[in-house]
């Protein structure tokens, strides 16, 4: 055996020893890499590998961030596209990075999301390059798993956050409301995602339903602000101005707006309705006829709130208000045809207040609802005694008014006489002066008062505009309106669909100080 052979054998044995070391290292590396919890541990593994191949310098860059003591000259290098050995002398490692200029080769190996570098040796042998190449592959797998674990944790945290936020949102915008005294209430509140921009709030006699533009979390944030503003505003009779004052600026800044309907529901059936940019409220009478209460002002947050027309309605037993958000009529079928407002109206007319929501939901089956969906039915308690009377132009039937009143009022009810008197006057008026031939009277008792709605097909005429005569004057006409004025606590008139409609709250008149006998 020659000397050269000996040297070759020695080198071979050394290489085998090295390979054995490498093998041991890699065996240890695999479980460590799999359990990697941060980049510092990855850096430690790179350092260990560096020690194994007897080179002092090692650094790792992940996601653009260097780990370990990274010399300035290394930071100035670019991530290589493929494993490469930069031969000694080709990399400037002196000033300004360090005082001394040292000749070193640099082994640079790319990772999926960064690269690693080893230096401090004159050259890197093939086995060493292979070892580091294998290390890089392992690190890639380990770092990928680490990233996925982190994303999973973050996702879980976000999901938990969303869950908590959803609970807060649902507490602020309850899916259930308490029925106001004297009414039945049914609500279906179905947000498009975890959060909704539709809302409904209740405070005292006030009930507000609305819809913030857009949906999801951004809309839900505005909804929550609305909730607190509403609590304060509901203490004022000027609810809408207070809401506008509290929210206008915020809505404008966030480029959002909000449509809403505010209802003030008195137990006797009198309801104030204000519609601000919201889809028409449907007033469904017990006999199925519909009236729309459309918006009288643009949505809150679009333009300063100037004037909102307030609709005063009387809900007799069985009458109902039906409210819905645009999620209903904007739902589309497979061909992109929307559910539509006409269909909404038909549904409202055909189904009773008790079944409206149920039938709407089943009618929506072939449709895709992409927005928040809110359906609310407020029905005046149908169990309250009420009566409906149809009259013609025949004044011989006047006694039927008193008879009808006596079906819902006891003989000793304080408002009975006043109600019969006032309603007789209005019927005679409509027949004699308006030539009415079809009249409908609806009446129900409300505590010490009587709520009545009289509709007639006579000429348009608002009797409230007529100056009633002075009391106590001996005239041969003009007592009728005086009687109505004295008996009516409230008296509204509207001309709707070619019909005169008067709604009155009637009670015993306050005694008039009568002058002594002349």
């Amino acid at each position: 055996m020659t000397l050269t052979d000996d040297a070759a054998v020695t080198e071979l044995l050394e290489q085998v020893a090295d390979l054995s070391d490498h093998l041991v290292f890699l065996q240890r590396l695999i479980p460590q890499a799999l359990a990697l919890t941060d980049e510092a541990q990855a850096t430690a593994l790179v350092r260990e590998a560096a020690a194994l191949i007897s080179t002092p310098g090692a650094a790792l860059q992940v996601g653009g961030v260097w780990h370990g003591d990274t010399p300035g000259w290394l930071r100035a290098l670019e991530r290589p596209a493929a494993p490469v050995v930069l031969p000694r002398g080709s990399v400037h490692t002196g000033a300004p990075y360090t005082a001394a200029w040292r000749l070193t080769a640099v082994l640079a190996v790319p990772l999926e999301d960064g690269w690693l570098a080893l230096w401090g040796k004159r050259e890197f042998m093939a086995v060493e390059r292979n070892l580091i190449g294998t290390l890089a592959q392992l690190l890639d797998a380990a770092l990928r798993a680490l990233r996925q674990r982190r994303e999973a944790v973050q996702y879980e945290m976000q999901a938990r956050d969303r869950q908590r936020a959803h609970a807060v949102w649902r507490a602020v915008t309850p899916a259930q409301l308490r029925p106001p005294e004297g009414y039945h209430l049914t609500l279906r509140s179905q947000p498009a995602s975890d959060f909704g921009g539709d809302f409904q709030f209740q405070e005292g006699e006030w009930l507000v339903v609305g819809d913030v533009s857009g949906k999801g979390l951004p809309a839900a944030i505005i909804t929550a602000m609305f909730a607190s503003a509403f609590t304060v505003a509901a203490r004022s009779s000027d609810l809408l101005s207070k809401l506008s004052e509290a929210l206008y600026g915020h809505l404008e800044q966030s480029g959002k707006f909000c449509t809403l309907v505010a209802l003030q529901l008195r137990p006797n059936g009198q309801v104030r309705v204000m519609n601000v940019g919201h889809p028409p409220v449907l007033l469904r009478r017990a006999d199925g006829t519909l009236k729309e209460i459309r918006a009288s002002a643009p949505p809150l947050g679009t333009f300063p709130l100037e004037h909102v027309t307030e609709e005063l309605v009387v809900l007799h037993p069985g009458d109902a208000l039906l409210l819905y958000s645009d999620g209903l009529f904007e739902a589309e079928d497979a061909r992109g045809v929307p559910f539509g407002l006409d269909r909404t109206r038909r549904l409202a007319a055909e189904s009773g207040p008790e079944t409206f929501i149920e039938r709407a939901v089943s009618a929506l089956t072939p449709y895709t609802v992409t927005d928040d969906l809110t359906l609310l039915v407020l029905q005046r308690d149908p169990a309250v005694p009420s009566v409906q009377l149809h009259l013609t132009g025949d004044l011989a039937r006047l006694p039927e008014i008193g008879a009808a009143l006596r079906t819902v009022l006891a003989e000793e009810h304080p408002a009975l006489m006043a109600a019969e008197l006032a309603l007789t006057e209005l019927v005679v008026n409509a027949v004699r002066h308006g030539q009415a031939r079809h009249l409908t009277l609806r009446v129900h008792q409300a505590g010490a008062e009587v709520l009545a709605t009289l509709t007639d097909d006579g000429q348009a005429f608002d009797p409230r505009q007529v100056a009633a005569g002075t009391a106590g004057e001996l005239r041969e006409h003009g007592y009728g309106l005086l009687i109505v004025q004295r008996c009516a606590r409230e008296w509204q008139y509207a001309r709707v669909n070619h019909l005169n409609r008067q709604t009155l709250s009637l009670g015993a008149p306050a005694p008039l100080s009568s002058s002594p006998c002349p």
Partner: protein, 100 residues
């Protein structure tokens, strides 16, 4: 659905659905378009559907223009868009006659 529009001078003609998915693009197009002097006119004759997000974008643009003494007018609108503008009482502020 991506936003489809054509510009001719002060006029912006939009087509297709305007909804939450392209409301942000709509805002950008309106802002860009409002950079030229004068009033802005928007034609919605070929827009079959508009939702509250898109409506909010139009309202924001109108308010921005008003700050510099200008305005945004909707010159034409499809029946469903007219209906929505009428329901929300916003038709008149965009210079559209109420059809009711």
């Amino acid at each position: 659905m991506p936003l489809t529009y054509t510009r001719t001078g002060p006029g912006l003609t939009l087509s297709g659905r305007l909804d939450a998915q392209n409301a942000r693009d709509l805002r950008e197009v309106l802002t860009e378009h409002a950079a030229q002097p004068g009033d802005l006119t928007v034609n919605l004759a070929d827009v079959p559907f508009i939702d509250s997000s898109a409506l909010a974008a139009l309202v924001s643009a109108l308010k921005d223009l008003r700050r510099s003494g200008r305005t945004l007018r909707i010159t034409q609108a499809s029946a469903p868009v007219r209906e929505l503008l009428s329901l929300t009482m916003l038709g008149r502020v965009f210079g559209l006659e109420d059809l009711r």
